[in-house]
Symmetry: C2
Subunit: 204 residues, 2 copies
């Protein structure tokens, strides 16, 4: 791996582990056993590093959100949600200190807000398609609140688990998926609800 | 007001405004136009200040959560939730940087987790009482997920609004109350659901 890539991967690791506000460029170069000057040759500031890593996150989540997802099967939705949660876990430093990070990185803030908006649109699209196929019963105002709730839950699930359990475990992702699907469950028909219960038994 | 109280109130104000990680004791004494030595006479560290303010928060929220709340009327629940959201807004510095703050203040962490647990119990108590009176239809596993979801939503509502809208506005509290009640709505009978719609029109 090139030094530049090493710096980025180590930074992501440290951001996730220690929280972005607690990581300095000096710590990053120390951990890589390179000189601060060498790091500075590749990146002029922590902002440059963070912005580049944010770009990775952005590309990955956009790929997911833009993938054609017209799946009506609840198991396919489960899988899709799992990929979303995996993306959140991979870049959890953004989510862990989200208010703080966005307040300090103005450029990233606008781009993160766009992603949140896209997530809400994607949720609404899936919900609307379920509604049109007759497997989901909700009026427009319920649908809007539900779409918002799904995004809020996905965004803060890891934080909620972190503050209630102290550390992240592998099955927290599956729990998050289940929690999101539970939001939709009361609006589903009996058949879909039963399928959800089976998935819960299989994955949790 | 005594200097000691002035320090506490100013600290709460600065924590809320700038985020706790960005406030130093030097900034607090500067803002109060007192010497760092004078501040040090009252508080030996920022931890002492934060712990005392956390104690205020804890007393206030416990008073709320321990108040006898057997109200079955949805308007009473709306009011109760509003008080919860007001408490969160008053001490929003805890919520804004919650993962970061709890990681750095071990003593506060355990106490905050207790509060979250109490909130979950209070939610479940209200939901169970609604279930027993026949105005809410849900099985035990739905009830548990719902109780958890209510606490998650209340805990992160302000953060969600902060990252999507940039700043807090007065009506965000009413919106938060509505969002929480929307979680319960699909499980309610028609009469209660209609009452909820009326409250929405009145408050939002």
């Amino acid at each position: 791996m090139k030094t530049r890539d090493k710096i980025l991967h180590k930074s992501l690791e440290l951001f996730n582990e220690l929280g972005e506000p607690n990581v300095t460029t000096l710590l990053i170069s120390d951990e890589l056993e390179i000189s601060p000057g060498n790091l500075y040759y590749h990146f002029k500031s922590k902002t440059d590093i963070l912005t580049e890593i944010f770009g990775w996150y952005e590309r990955e989540i956009n790929l997911l959100l833009e993938s054609p997802n017209s799946a009506t099967d609840i198991e396919d939705q489960w899988f899709f949600l799992h990929l979303i949660f995996e993306n959140i876990a991979k870049y959890r430093f953004i989510y862990k200190d989200v208010v703080n990070v966005l307040e300090r990185y103005d450029e990233v803030k606008a781009r993160f807000q766009k992603i949140i908006l896209k997530k809400r649109e994607a949720s609404l699209k899936i919900l609307t398609s379920l509604q049109q196929q007759g497997s989901l019963r909700a009026n427009d105002s319920e649908l809007a609140a539900l779409g918002e709730q799904i995004v809020l839950t996905a965004t803060f699930w890891l934080n909620y688990k972190l503050i209630t359990h102290g550390e992240l475990t592998e099955d927290m992702l599956a729990q998050g998926v289940y929690q999101v699907i539970s939001l939709v469950a009361p609006f589903l028909d009996d058949e879909q609800r039963e399928q959800l219960n089976e998935l819960k038994t299989a994955y949790l």
